[in-house]
Amino acid sequence: MSVVAAGAPVPDFVLRRHDFSRFTKDDLLGQTTVLVFYPNAFSPVCTDQLNLYEEVLAELAAQGATLYGVSCDSVWAQKAFKEQLGITIEQLSDFEPKGATCRAFGVYFEKGGMPTRALVLIGPDGVVQWSWEGEHPGVLPGANLIFDALAARPAA
């Protein structure tokens, strides 16, 4: 299994927002989205990753992109994680049925029971424009990679 590739339509999926409301494919339409799949809330690398991306949110917004964190942690765990980090990045939970969305995006790491570390850039039409998957969960993708992908988007 590998991360959904550029050019593919986003699969159907359901994630849960902080208020347990549904976040689906329809929520991606009309906006440029970066989904950040991370293995575990509170883990050191995931902490560094979300802290770093928080620092460049204004630049992402200037590029018209909205970034979300996605993990198999529960909504409550994600809320605690977000609060502890002091970040504003919205978190989306793939807790139950566990990993269903991660599997649909090709980023579920079966042996670990968690997402692998991956990034998926989705255009306003719901088509994947770029994706990245780490060789292992310890690899932290720099924010520069996201900006490279945004710059490489086809002209609207």
Partner: protein, 165 residues
């Protein structure tokens, strides 16, 4: 390319902060470039190691505010001190006591170093100083820096082993 897209590590320029003694006869541009922040405990460990090693290095700011809430203010304090010719002593004073990085602690350091405190306080909040810190951070992001401390030698990122802080 966007302002934070990938780009090579900027070479040293006249505005970079060089620390430690110069090695006689050595190429002055051939020094390690360290991206770090003043609130990061791992950066403090590396800082102590660099000071002890007696070499020369360049320091660039990489404050990540959600991780280290006072890192940005501390970086601006160092740059404000630089405007009064006191980057290095402020840099040393910041790493010397990471538990005291609130505004009164920064003013106390400035006073101890003999700086014009009112000017220091205005400068550290100025757009020029903020832009100077942001310039370092941006260059780090573009070169692929993801955490602190990150060290480059000969333009390439060098892994460093540090104990748990």
């Amino acid at each position: 390319m966007s302002g934070l897209g990938s780009a090579p590590l900027p070479p040293l320029d006249a505005d970079d902060h060089l620390l430690g003694p110069a090695t006689p006869g050595a190429d002055p541009t051939d020094v390690a470039i360290v991206y770090a922040d003043y609130e990061c405990p791992y950066c403090a460990v590396l800082h102590a190691r660099l000071v002890r090693g007696g070499g020369r290095w360049a320091f660039r700011h990489f404050p990540v505010r959600s991780k280290h809430p006072r890192a940005w203010a501390a970086a601006c304090a160092a740059e404000a001190a630089a405007l009064q010719g006191a980057f290095e002593p402020m840099h040393m004073a910041l790493f010397a006591d990471q538990a005291r990085l609130e505004d009164p602690h920064l003013w106390a350091r400035a006073e101890r170093l003999g700086l014009d405190v009112a000017r220091f306080d205005a400068d550290r909040r100025s757009e020029a100083v903020q832009a100077r810190v942001r310039r370092d951070f941006t260059s780090g992001v573009r070169a692929g820096v993801v955490t602190t401390p990150t060290v480059f030698e000969h333009g390439r990122m060098r892994p460093i082993a540090l104990p748990d802080a």
